[in-house]
Symmetry: C2
Subunit: 358 residues, 2 copies
């Protein structure tokens, strides 16, 4: 490898890095075949470098599509040196694929927008693209297109596409009174990692294992694709959303979209060891960390009470509450009191220089 | 209207501006019905604010999807005051829909990423979103989702989705020797406007009408959706690409993807009056402006010679050259000589601070 840093132009990076990392996509694409009869094939991917990527969809499909921007240098843990360029590329894909998972869909492709500053070498640019590629592989899809080029700083944004059999997508709006509220895995680790690393007190040393587990939520976030598909296939899930805006915001969003209320049971809410450890060190309410603006990619979903046992035989999850007819999302505490949910509401203020309010 | 500037947070802008501008999308969506039997309906759009937008696709479709980032403050004419926030939103959509048009597809939706600086008021943010909305309406689709929030400067990126009957999408790779090379409308006006306005010489005053025409290419760019659909429906077009990287780059891309060469006839290349006027003022080669890195959204396409007359009865276009078997894209000059194409190659250097080369 050259020791001299290389700064190629956009056509060169397209012709070299992009084609090398994302080559022969039609051959690589795992064709979708539903038992119901639908099929999805890739006709032209990133390597075709046409105006657009092309999929062929035959039969009845729900096509789901969402876009998420990821802060570049605003991405605090990257600025602080805890994440590298590969991690950012990986994260970009996980964040976008998580929205596909939350619809119960199978991801088929990602389009990534990667704009880089003048001082980003070809090697670092390639690390971003490799992270994007590897995360796509991890989640069973391909980076089929996007846009690269210069900018005055690193800018990362993406769009993910998914499909499921027609009528199968899981919306937020179907929760019914009496449904059980469930969570795929505990939340709060991403928020705890951020709180711990930003506190930056030299005497605040928590267990290395906890720190590694927490950082993994940022370095290799796990979009719940398998779980989302299983929830969709079960046919008994009435609503679903990912927790990328925090557990509290997710519960409030499902309740609002469904026109219902939710009571969360404090005793049923899982608190990861790492969250408990950080909360103790920093004198935080662990429930606030679990509920607050931690960017985890778990799924919250609702199931009719009669169906929840059957679903639990096929999938691991936590039952954290119940859907009520009357509005409001509240916490039933262990001491018998009922309170508002703890945790910061979703405002993205911590990373958002646009957080001024009128 | 309040005279005090208002800076709402992200949830407020979602609940107010986004829902107001993009409300009731399922009712607004124009369902797609192909004579061949395919159908596309919108199930959940931007107003649903679910994890993803959802389309239902029944029958056989080619789904085409592409992403384009638009420079914010790097967007020179905006920095210079010639474009406002509404214009940027409009441009963002046109640039993205142009890629759908170039595939011969019908646009069904756009996802827009709009991240704004702390000093962008609700009113200016709304202007961006209104431009996005109006451009979508102009091109027959909806802004079905995306991502908004803060950033340290204005960042605009989008993804456009389109469909056509299965097997109908127009790729770059089908041009055959003997095909006629065609262009929907003249290129160069966007580049001429940029060159003129950046030259900024007070004594360089060209005709107001020319300036308005040229600026319209930036303020209300026209994605060739109608033309793209007509080319697809004709069944005789062998390749197609938009000219957003410049006419020269487009011709070279089609030639390369198709494994052919192209000879452009100088006498057949249309030169708009505005381009001629600016070229004279600034002592530029008008052919260089027409061929170079002007960001126009015209379509270049190829048609078998036997079919071109029939197509011309249904659609207006310019025949500018011919496809050859041997490689190379050249210009046959009026004086009988054959030269390389004039005009800067595609490097995005003029707007690209990342333009350092090894």
């Amino acid at each position: 490898m050259s020791t001299e840093p290389v700064f190629s132009d956009e056509p060169t990076r397209l012709a070299d890095t992009i084609v090398r990392i994302f080559g022969d996509q039609v051959g690589e694409f795992a064709p979708v075949r539903w038992p119901e009869g639908g099929a999805v094939d890739l006709i032209a991917g990133a390597d075709a470098q046409d105006d657009c990527a092309v999929f062929r969809l035959s039969g009845d499909h729900d096509l789901v599509v969402g876009s998420d921007y990821v802060r570049g240098p605003k991405f605090r843990l990257y600025e602080m040196g805890h994440l590298d360029e590969y991690d950012l590329g990986y994260y970009l894909v996980a964040a976008n694929v998580s929205d596909i998972a939350a619809m119960g869909a199978t991801p088929i492709g990602v389009l990534s927008v990667v704009r880089y500053p003048p001082d980003m070498t070809d090697d670092l640019f390639e690390r971003v693209m490799q992270g994007i590629h590897d995360a796509c592989s991890r989640f069973g899809c391909l980076n089929v297109g996007g846009d690269i080029g210069g900018a005055e700083r690193l800018i990362l944004s993406a769009t993910a596409l998914g499909v499921c059999p027609g009528g199968g997508s899981l919306l937020r709006s179907g929760a019914k009174p009496g449904d059980v509220v469930c969570l795929t895995s505990p939340t709060g680790l991403a928020g705890a990692a951020m709180a711990y690393l930003r506190a930056d007190k030299p005497d605040d040393v928590i267990d290395e294992q906890h720190l590694a587990t927490m950082l993994a939520n940022w370095k290799r976030p796990h979009a719940r694709v398998h779980e989302g598909r299983a929830l969709r296939a079960s046919g008994v899930v009435t609503s679903c959303q990912d927790t990328s805006d925090g557990l509290k915001a997710t519960l409030e969003s499902i309740a609002s979209a469904s026109g219902v209320g939710i009571t969360v049971q404090e005793r049923d809410l899982p608190i990861p060891e790492g969250v408990a450890a950080v909360a103790e060190h920093l004198d935080l309410d662990p429930l606030g960390v679990v509920m607050g603006d931690s960017v985890d990619f778990e799924l919250v979903f609702t199931v009719a009470r009669a169906e929840v046992e059957g679903l639990a035989e096929r999938l691991d999850f936590h039952r954290i509450g119940v859907v009520r007819q009357d509005a409001g999302v509240v916490l039933a505490r262990g001491d018998g009191t009922v309170t508002p949910l703890p945790g910061k509401a979703w405002r993205h203020v911590s990373d958002d220089p646009g957080g001024r309010r009128a």
